[in-house]
Amino acid sequence: MPIDNAGNTLGTARGLTLTSNSQTFGDWVGTLDTQDFYRFNLSNRSALNLAVDTLTANADVQLIQDRNNNGAIDSGEVITTSARTGTSAESIVRNLDAGRYFIRVYNSANSETNYNLKVFATPDLAGDTTATARNITIGSQTTTYSDWVSSLDTNDYYRFTLNESRNLALTLTNLSADADVQVLRLNSDNTTTSIGSSTNGSSASETININNLSAGNYFVQVYRYSGDTSYKLNLSAAPQDFTGNTVVTARDIIPSSTTIREFVGSGDTNDYFRFVLGDNSNLAVTVNGLTANANLQILRLNGNGSTTVVGSSTNAGNAAENVNLTSLTAGRYLVRVYQGSGDTSFNLSVTSNYAPSDWAGRNIADTGVLTKVRSLSADGSLSRSDMIDIFRDAKDGNTVDVNELIDLRNIVANAVGFNMADHVRVLSNKVVNGDVANAKYQGATLGNLYAGSTGTQMENLIGKWFLGSDRPATSRTYSYNSAPLFKDGVSITDIKQGAVGDCYYLATLASIAQEKPSYISDMFTDNGDNTYTVRFFNNGVADYVTVDKYLPGYANASQELWVGLAEKAYAQLAESGWSRGAGQTNSYASIEGGWMDYVIRQVTGLSATSSNVTSMTKQQLIDLVNSNKILTAGFVNGAGYGVVDSHAYTVQSYNSTTGLFRLNNPWGTTHAEVTWEQLNSLQAYIISSNS
C-alpha cells in the first residue's frame, strides 16, 4: 500500500497547522485505505481554501465539524462536499468561524488514486465597519496584511494614525476576484471622507498613492465588488519628501555653506536641487553621511528642457561622493542625488564662488532677462512698463524657453521684493501662470504661456492684460474717445445707460458715485499710455483688467470716460468666469442682466444684502437712504407708478415732506418718485451694501 500519513478516523486525523500560504499534503486513497482525515484549528474567523488534485481516479472531499465531539460524523456535521466525477480536481472555498474542523478525502467506487491536498486559511482580522476596524501601524517600510472579502464579509476596514505628514503608498494584490479599495479620512465630527480610491476591474491589483498626507486618523476600506477573494494589502508611509524628484520639480537652493539633509531610496529614487550660476563659476558638491549607496550628478538645464551632465561621482558603497567643477558658463544647474542601492539619508553641500548679492543674480538664469531685470529694478521696483519690457525680452528668438519661463515665474513670485504694484503683480501673474480668460484673444485661440510659447503668443498676452487690446465683442464700431476719465469729479448724473441691458451694473455704479465716490476713482489706474487698469474684487481679493480708450458707438455718451470704461472693463472681466458665471465671453452681451449685490461686492469689495421691501419697515428703508450705504432697488414683479419692470434704480433720496423716495434711473432720464406703499405694491428688491 502506498503512503498513508493521514489517519482513517476523526480520532486519528492528521493534524495540520494552516497559514495564509498554501501548503500541499500528498497521500493516497483506495480499497485498502478508503478515507484520509485531516484536522485543523482556526483561532480566528477565516476563509478556508482547499483543493484535492493530481488525481488518477475519482476521489472526493468533505469539510466536517464534529460539533458534539463524539469522534463520529453525525447528521448535519458535514459542512460541505465536493464530489466531482472522474479525475476532476475537488475544491472547497468556505468562510469558517474559529473552531476545530476536519477534512475527509475518500475514494469512490473502489477507485485507487494518489492525491495532493492543497490548503490555506486566511484569517479575517479586519473589522467590517469603521467602528470595528483593525488598528494597524504604518511605517516607512511596507507592511503586508493578508485577509479576504466575500459575499459574507463584504468590507474590511483598517485604521491607522499619522502623527506627521507622510507619503502613503498602498497596493492591493493577490486577488482572485474583483475587490476595490479606498482611503478614508476620519473627520472631527466622526464622519469620513474618501480621499482616494482604486477600482480596477476583474482581479487586477489596486494602487493608491497619496503624497503629503497630513497628520490625522485614516481608514483603509477593502471591499468586495464581485466574487470572493483573498488579498494582500501592502502599505507604507514614507517620510515627506521636501525635494523634487524631477528636473522641473527640483528644489531651488542657493550655493552656500549650508548643508541640506535629505533621503533617497525605494519610492524616492531621485532628489533634484536647482540653482543659478554666472559665467566662470566654480562649483564644489559633496554628498556624505550615507548608510547605503547613492550617487551624484551635476547637470546643466538647457533651454529646450533637456539636461547635459557636466559632472558625476559614482563611488561604491557608503563612500562619500564629490564633484568639483571650474569655469562653468552662466545658466541654471541641477544637482541630482540618486539611489544606488538601499535606502539612505545624506548630507548635501553645494558651494560656489558665484555669490551675487542681489536676488536677480541668484534666481535668474537667462542672461538677457537678468540684465534687463537688474537694469529696470535699479530704482527699487518693477513697474508695469518694466514688466512689459521684461516679457518682451524673454521672447527673444521668437520663443519662451524653459529657463526663461522659470525666470519669469520667479520674478512674479518675488513681486514683493521688487515693490511691484498689486495690479502689475496680478496682471503679470495672468501672463506667466495662466488665467481662464487666456483661452481667447480677439476671438481667436490664445492659451496660457508654456515652455515653447511663441513670441506672438507672448505679445498677445501682453496686449490682453496690459494694453487693453482684447476689446469686448460688439456689433458696434470702436472709436477712440479722447475725453478725460473724470470731469468735475464723480457724479450720479454721469450715468447714462446705452443699449446694453446692464441697468443693474450702472444703477449700482450710480449709487457708489453718490455715496462712496472714492471707490470709483480708486477703481482706475491711469497707465499714461491711453490705457487704464480697472480693479474689481473676486471674493474680496483684487483682480484687474486693462482697457484702452476705444469705446463702441453705444457706450456711455457722457463727456467723461469712467462709466464707459467701467462698463467695458466689466464686459472684459466676464470671460474670467467668476464675475458672471456660465459660458460668458469677452463681450458686452455677457453683462446683460444681473443683480446689484454681486456688483457691490465686485466693484467695492464690500458685503451686500438683498431684501424684498415687503420684509422691511419704512423706517429701515429711510435709515438706509440717509446712510452712506450703496442703495439700489430692483423691480421684477411688474411696472407701475413710473417704474419700469425688470429694471434697476438707484434709491437716491427720501423727501420726508412728500413721503416720496426718489429712484434714479440709470438711463439718465425718466426717474421715478414713489411712496412706501407703492414700493410695497411693486414688491421691490432693496439691495444695499452692509457698510
Binding site: 464622519t191 482616494g196 477600482t199 524653459v402 495662466g434 488665467d435 515652455a451 510659447s453 421684477v636
Partner: protein
Amino acid sequence: MGRLIVKSSTPCRIDFIYILQMINQKKFIFVSSKILIVFFIAIACFLQSAMAVNKPVKKNTVNKTNKCTTMSSNQGIIVKTVSLIAREEKNPPIGTTVKSNVNIGFASVFLSLENQNLADANFVIKSIEIRDISNNSLQDFKSSCQTVKLKPLENSTVAFHLTNKTGYKMGKVKAIIKYQLGQQIKVIESGAVGVDKK
C-alpha cells in the same frame, strides 16, 4: 459620472424588440396574447432595471468606448487649488427679458493645474460633484468626464460651470472632483461655501 458602467445584461429594450419580432414571425398568437406578453415583458424590464439600480456601478473595465476612458492621464500634473461659487437665482436677472424654464442653480468650479512635464499632458476629470456638507447629499448637477490638455510646464486655471433647473437643496456645499492620475482615481475637494440665493 461619464465613464461609470452598469454591469448588466443586454439592454431590456433590445430584448423586447427581439421577442416581438419572434412573435410576429411565428404568427400563431393573437393580438390579445401579444398584449399580455408585452405586459409581462414590461414588468420584467421594470424589475431588471430596478435591480440594476441597486447593483454597484463601475469602473476601470478594460473595454470602454467613452473617449475619456481611453484617454491616458499623465503623471506629473499637480492640482493646486479647487474653488467653488454657488448661486441659486429663482428671480430672473434684472435687465433682461424674463424667460421660462431657465436654469436657476449655478455652480462654478475653478481648478488650478500645473503641468510639471516637459511635454504635452492630459488631465482627465472623471466627475465633478456638488455635495451638501451637512449630510453629504448630492446636489442636482450633472457633469461628464472631461479632459484638459496642457502644454509643457503650463500652469492653467480651468472653469467648469454646472447648471440645473432645481436649485440647491440645503445649505453650505462643496465641490468634489474625481480625477485620474495614471491608474489611480484621486479626489480633491473645494472648501465649503454658502449658496448665494436670489
